[in-house]
Symmetry: C2
Amino acid sequence: MAVTMSPKQKVYQAVLQEIRKFIEMNDLKSGDKLPSERGLSENLKAGRSSIREALRAMELLGLIETRHGEGTFLSTYRPYQTVELLSSFILQENTTRSDLMLTKRIMEKEAAKLAFSQMNEDAVEELTSLVNDSSLNPDEMHDAFFNYLFNQCDNLLLKKVWQLMDEFSQTINKQNYNTDFYEELINLYTTRNYQSIEALF
Amino acid sequence: MAVTMSPKQKVYQAVLQEIRKFIEMNDLKSGDKLPSERGLSENLKAGRSSIREALRAMELLGLIETRHGEGTFLSTYRPYQTVELLSSFILQENTTRSDLMLTKRIMEKEAAKLAFSQMNEDAVEELTSLVNDSSLNPDEMHDAFFNYLFNQCDNLLLKKVWQLMDEFSQTINKQNYNTDFYEELINLYTTRNYQSIEALF
DNA sequence: AAACCAAGGGTGGTCTGACCACCTTGAAAG
DNA sequence: CTTTCAAGGTGGTCAGACCACCCTTGGTTT
């Protein structure tokens, strides 16, 4: 293939680099279309199978989405596959459910604390309406609730990691907080009581 | 191919499932050898290219390691590739370094707290010797220090996530804690002062 | 003119067969 | 017994061939 490569670098890895560059160059965003496999093959001077190895890997990571007959598209990072696969490999069943729940809880606690400074009246109002929204089932409410908090944190990475945890936990049983919990947290925001958040979780 | 599949499941995804089963069935561990690509192709009734798509994806995830001329081997989960790739895709440069450092710090803080109950005299002794080990540079010491703490937590997932953060942060600059910091934390363990850990970070 | 439908071209999905490069092994040569 | 090297196994890569699917297009029908 054409791409310059350090000793023994595999083609599919070089292809990954090139695709990344391409995305950067053309400033592609979620939903945008990548060149076709055949097009990439020709431009990068690599066999289509090598292109596909790279694409499949990206797909598994959740970076792209392929639609049969249409093409390959950039997607917002949603590690569906990754989560499922890794959960079956890394987290070998049992033992680790509690690990997962605990880790997720930790992230949620920290988000609750980080978001504290951003929680003005409007924000509290927003959360309250979520808690009272009867069109959401408990799981959906929980997701929406913390999604909002994580957004307030202004820390994309933290949010991503939590979302990952959340998806993991969807796979198994989902033991949520009491309904009181959310109102209690909102109350702490209202009364500007930062100190008690730690203990709430 | 032979593998039973829900509607439209791609071959390489089915292959992933089969490989996972295979590993489980034969109780393969890190370092063990997987069947050859040609062997898998024949057994699973799938084209070699499909087999390779699955294997490449697993390789990128860090689940396996391939050695040219030798074979494919199970590896301990080390998301080298993943980290690098994801970092260039998800964390688009700038903006997020601080996110990373903060998130990592949060994990370390929680580990320090979780480990508290396990920190007997021996454990404190262990940490102290790490801090005083002059053969380690600051980065190595930091890694060893928190690696020990995370092990004490007995939460594999938390540790894995942290390691991932840690690898991310190696890629960029590594701004560690003061040298005092470690001694201070050890001191809190010695004096059984749980409350102050939160404030130390 | 508007609605409908079939054909064609583009795209991903998969398989096959062919080489090449690399490693291990074991038999032959010393 | 050691050294050498040829053969076979294994991953790495490519080219080409089909298939299935989607969308557009242009002609046909209404």
